[in-house]
Amino acid sequence: YVFTPGNPKWKRNNLTYRILNYTPKMRRADVNEAIRKALSVWSNVTPLTFRKVEDKEADIMISFAYRDHHDNSPFDGPNGQLAHAFQPGEGIGGDVHLDEEEAWTKDGRGYNLFIVIAHELGHSLGLSHSNDPGALMYPTYSYTDPKEFLLPQDDIDGIQAIYGQSNAAVQPTGPITPQTCDPNLTFDAITTLRGEIIFFKGRYMLRKHPARTETELNFISLFWPKLPSGIQAAYENVERDEVLLFKEDKYWVLRGYDIAPGYPKPIYRLGFPKTVKRVNAAYSDETTGKTYFFIADRYWRYDENKKSMDHGYPRKIVSDFGKIGRVDAVFQKDGYVYFFHGTTQFQFDPRAKRIIGQMKSISWFNC
């Protein structure tokens, strides 16, 4: 996180805000709610409070503006610069301006008003842009479902360094952006996807292309806004050019790079008994057409050609794969299967039916 140069801050904790005008692209109630929720992002983690005023000067004046709006920072029409705000201070200090020519929405279409205002309010309170790609104060727009939004730890640390902690008995914490070379990095799910390897972690995906040394970190929502965060299992059916993604008792199908219509569907369609509530990990053996689902200490085997579970399952993982413990994530590459348990990775040879190697979970990231 970065403070605004000169460390400006409000001298009071009880601040006021006023909404000067509304965009015609959203219902008034939705604009009010987006702003109220954006303010609570910051008041939830500090002693700050925000009171709405209707007609007098407020500390934070929020307005939608068009091109040159006489503050020396003209807007540039659709896309590009979405909004800006001023550091704490009298007059224009703390004010938030939103580019009226943007497609403001309350969901994943266009630009989500809540996300943008929450970011701008960070400036209104004295924060500058953070270079943590997962931070709310990161300069570029990225959509997160407001219902799932949690203020990242980087932003919590920054705002609390200015205003102190919240008065709540339990201090709120936020998600931390995964660092590819963090030895403690574990994964929720891993799959191959058209020659690349996709590692899922919280709301992020780490994307490793065999021909590139660096690993790309993105929000899952950047590519697939309809997918939830916290994907628990994933596997690629190379023959069908599909990737199946699992969370709780539902699964989605990626065809190519797009989510197939009609999903999510219940996992029971695949033949799981109702006692199974979620899938921990999965991989599909391209040569045999068999897919392996790992759940707690057991695994099921699914026949992709017959489209049904094989008989005689579930079986104990340890009896057929050795001492690999619970499986967090698994994928197959070049004939070998890579099981991830916490920060440990096991290389398994399905022909020899034994573990032939043990590595760190981050071994794929050229650390």
Binding site: P5, F75, L82, A83, H84, Y111, N131, P139, Y141
Partner: protein, 81 residues
Amino acid sequence: FPVAPEAEDEGKNLQLVENYLQNFYNLQRDHQPHLKKGENPLAAKLKEMQEFFGLQVTGKPDLDTLEIMKKPRCGIPDIGQ
């Protein structure tokens, strides 16, 4: 003759880079890339931007850099006031 698309892109990209660095990295609008001794200010600012976004610091407007510059974003500069 019509400008070859690639040359046209290059011009457009250079304009994008200059605007971006002026808006968000304090590149002086009157910089004279060819008159001053030492590193080209634009390249220096480009490196600053690449470092901020965790890109490979090349000082050149490569594809990854242009991709970031085209992303919708906040109008506040990344460095300075």
